[in-house]
Symmetry: C2
Subunit: 244 residues, 2 copies
Amino acid sequence: MSPTSSSDVLIRKLQTISDIREAEIRVLKNIPIQEKDFLVNHDLVREGDQPVYSFVVLEGLIGSTKYTGEGKRQITSFFVAGDIPDLHGLHLSVMDCNFSTLTPARVGFIRHDALRSICDQHPRIAAAFWRSTLIDAAIYREWVTNVGRREAYTRMAHILCELICRMRSVGRIEDHVADIPITQAALGDALGLSTVHVNRMLQELRREGLIATTGSRVHARDWAGLTRAGDFDTTYLHQKNPAD
Amino acid sequence: MSPTSSSDVLIRKLQTISDIREAEIRVLKNIPIQEKDFLVNHDLVREGDQPVYSFVVLEGLIGSTKYTGEGKRQITSFFVAGDIPDLHGLHLSVMDCNFSTLTPARVGFIRHDALRSICDQHPRIAAAFWRSTLIDAAIYREWVTNVGRREAYTRMAHILCELICRMRSVGRIEDHVADIPITQAALGDALGLSTVHVNRMLQELRREGLIATTGSRVHARDWAGLTRAGDFDTTYLHQKNPAD
DNA sequence: CGACTAGTTGAACGGAATCAATAGAGGTGG
DNA sequence: CCACCTCTATTGATTCCGTTCAACTAGTCG
């Protein structure tokens, strides 16, 4: 495999959240991963599925989504490069949510039985995976709070902060310029807002000089100001070395 | 220990979500658990803490809570008898949320090192614990959806359905009559609503004949109707044997 | 009995949704 | 190359769900 293979993306991510050693890295490098590309708005996994694979995000943005009986969509979390969004499928046989591409994306599929045998033989890797799912849960908790108790403007700033932080921690961002080709409709579904209101909140963030957007590029012009506006604190991301 | 000791509550719960055998049950029965009673609105764990214990709920209702910079509280999930709300503390050293009693409660503290050595020696128990944290995450996901995309009336019905389902699965409810001495303010903090509006939604549910309340007792008079009104589907609870 | 907490009610306000229309960007095919 | 189509972003006007403010009631406890 090449120096920046799909397993390297996974390993880099695990290193940002846990202490894994040479021995484990060697094991991880040998996991069979089947890469595949997808267009935007493609369901990788659907509610009710009983998959035998989990997947690692290699490129692009994935969302876990749920639909209400009325057909409204809620994105319950984002997943960036290195994340394994449906790792919980390893222990929960029936999926309770969908996983969809929010941008064009490349992902790598890993068989559950491969993951299980690695977990059995390498407790430190198992612990790292467990930890990874616990961080996902911490992020869900923050999202409940964000959607439930923050107003639209703060909510929007908060989610941008999270995205930028997470992408930066896996080396997908230089400074605070993120290339996130996500639609305003998707942002709305993540924030529990209408697209119209998403648009207005972004305008307000621009007007305040906190962000600049050129096409799909989001630039945090005033990171300190943006975190303040977003009531953002990195604790819940549980990164080993928060970038700032 | 007596027949219905604190470890029995834990074991019963684990049996509703995973297949554990006699061997594991024997191990679990011998975990040292330190019981303690608390009044309502008591913080058992605070954001920023680095606890060396986790706790199992024995009696009463616990909430994981977060506060926004503006001081608004959001309850991000409920925890009922048998649940271990802060099990994630085992792998995430710094707490990113609080755990507070929403009713008077009895909980049992278990040392992290005791849990770790059990997980090391009994992979099936480790898997059950991991699974338990994954179900917590599934519930968080549902809450994001509930708060983000359902309107107040549906939201309220949904949360009542969840509470009743979860309490029933651990034998805390006869039929559909739940003794939940939870305040309307707490319900508001869980739903992202004001107490005033909580009150009105409860009235509407009563008017529709879906529930009846006598003091702290909530009676689901029309379970089918309530689940319909709440857009409720038990899948996300991942119970082995859903009661209906 | 007074003080506190929880629940209830009414009126007015406001944040965000909805509806509707327009503009722009990218892609496709004749 | 341009006409056409679709998707996304933008803007304005109106509506409405839920908040806020402010009483008031009822139960509980010291």
